[in-house]
């Protein structure tokens, strides 16, 4: 059996378990509701009805619950198989040499050290990719950060809910110029940025491009020279085109001779879609190829392979 056959088998199993689990749950709760209504209308059969309720209503609920538990296990298998077959295969189509670790990612300490985004209450990083294109090093990982929030509902009760504050990818590319100061451009729709603010030690810089200034806030650790050095008119133009594709939910950070591109667009990259979706495996592969090729597009657009400025004295 090939990897794709195994994947299809897991998907079908997960689908069946989920469907039957839901049906049994609905049946159980339906019967329970029916007998409760019958109990209200005729109190004479109370004892008999209670016995029937236990036997007839809770049996399907228990079966449904077990099926849903099995579904969760099967879905996990399906998800792992998806990453190991579909994602891995698609990456192989894009990069000649790459390293992919579906269950690893950036460490919390690294993200904390960078100080670009908030860490919330729960931090997860998966789908670590290390690849090379035209001698440019690419490192990428998916990030999912949530925060517990308390709120007061309509009845005046205080409740807690989990809110996603970051869901997207973080890519790092070696830059084609050497620089000692940091430059950070925060897109107007990028949420959860920890850059800037009232008490920041960074300097805000306005570039000569009004189009760029209207959608990005640019910060730098020097008087602005590095920002103008890195963000040439050509680079500004390309960064705007890329940012527009992500609806400006993007941050560009130039730190330690690397370009960090953070996309917080609420999209879980390299995750399988719904088990009921009619999308074929081939389409899934093509989707991932397209997403991954964006790394190459960025390198080509920004000409990151141009080593002209790095080879001097």
């Amino acid at each position: 059996m090939t990897k794709l056959d195994t994947l299809k088998k897991y998907k079908n199993n997960a689908q069946s378990l989920h469907l039957f689990g839901i049906i049994f749950m609905i049946l159980g709760f339906g019967l329970f509701a029916y007998f409760m209504l019958a109990q209200i209308s005729s109190s004479y059969y109370t004892y008999v009805i209670n016995y029937k309720v236990i036997l007839m209503a809770f049996t399907p609920v228990v079966i449904g619950f077990i099926l849903l538990l099995l579904y969760a296990r099967q879905y996990k298998k399906y998800r792992f198989a998806y990453k190991e077959s579909v994602v891995d295969y698609a990456l192989g189509k894009v990069f000649d040499d790459y390293e992919y670790e579906p269950h690893s990612g950036f460490s919390l300490s690294y993200v904390k050290k960078m100080g670009l985004i908030g860490l919330g209450d729960d931090f997860k990083s998966t789908d670590f990719i290390h690849a090379e294109y035209k001698d440019v090093d690419i490192v990428q990982s998916n990030i999912h950060i949530t925060r517990q929030e308390t709120y007061t509902n309509s009845k005046g009760e205080t409740q807690t809910r989990t809110v996603t504050i970051y869901l997207g990818k973080w890519s790092i590319y070696t830059f084609n110029k050497n620089f000692n100061e940091d430059v950070i451009c925060v897109g107007c729709n990028f949420s959860d940025s920890r850059v800037g603010g009232l008490f920041t030690s960074l300097n805000k810089v306005k570039l000569e491009s009004d189009s760029f200034n209207s959608v990005f806030k640019t910060y730098t650790t020097d008087n602005g020279h590095t920002a103008f050095y890195l963000l040439t008119p050509q680079v500004i133009n390309e960064l705007l085109i890329i940012a527009k594709a992500y609806h400006y939910k993007i941050m560009y950070a130039f730190i330690d001779n690397k370009l960090h591109v953070l996309v917080n667009n609420g999209h879980a990259y390299f995750e399988p879609g719904s088990i009921y979706s009619k999308i074929s495996i081939e389409d899934e592969v093509n989707k991932i190829i397209k997403e991954t090729k964006n790394n190459k597009v960025l390198i080509d657009r920004l000409k990151l392979d141009n080593q002209l400025f790095k080879g001097g004295y």
Partner: protein
């Protein structure tokens, strides 16, 4: 009567505070222009040093071309923007002469030293371009303060005048156009 005095006092305090804030803003903007101007100096000096090294390298390969580079204007402290521009243009001329020469001397073109210098010069030019753009951006902010009311009144009183822009290569200027 007392209310009148109080009112006049409040207005005077506001005017006083405004003068202080406006003057500070003008001074900070002027300081930023000066900083950016010294950035240009640094980049020009580096470019000049690299050009000198490049000329030495070229001379060692093309011994009969010594007089070709006699017109390069040396960089010195306290040059005006116009003088800096002139010196930069003389360096441009020297670089283009070197490029033409290198075409006739394949050994020079192939030498590792020449390649390294070319790379350094390309990076230096990027720094120079950045310094010019930063200078112009700061001059633009400063000039806006100088000409716009009510800071223009304070600018007039404190002898803050409009500053000239640094000329940016026309091809680079065209690149600023954003087309999505």
């Amino acid at each position: 009567m007392n209310y009148w005095i109080l009112g006049i006092l409040i207005v005077l305090i506001f005017i006083f505070l405004f003068v202080i804030v406006a003057n500070n803003n003008l001074n900070v903007a002027s300081l930023k222009v000066e900083e950016a101007s010294s950035d240009i100096d640094v980049a020009l000096e580096k470019r000049y040093d690299l050009l000198t090294k490049m000329i030495d390298t070229v001379k060692s390969y093309c011994k009969y071309e010594k007089d070709t580079f006699s017109n390069v204007i040396a960089i010195r402290q306290g040059m005006t923007i116009k003088e800096k521009d002139k010196a930069n243009k003389s360096m441009d001329d020297a670089f283009s002469k070197i490029h033409i020469l290198a075409e006739n001397y394949p050994n020079l073109k192939a030498s590792e030293n020449y390649k390294m210098l070319q790379s350094s010069i390309a990076d230096c030019e990027e720094h120079l371009q950045a310094a010019k753009r930063l200078y112009n951006a700061n001059v633009s902010s400063y000039n806006r303060l100088v000409v716009s009311f009510p800071t223009s009144v304070i600018a007039g009183m404190t002898a803050h005048e409009k500053l000239p822009y640094y000329s940016i290569d026309s091809n680079k200027r065209n690149d600023v156009k954003i087309d999505i």
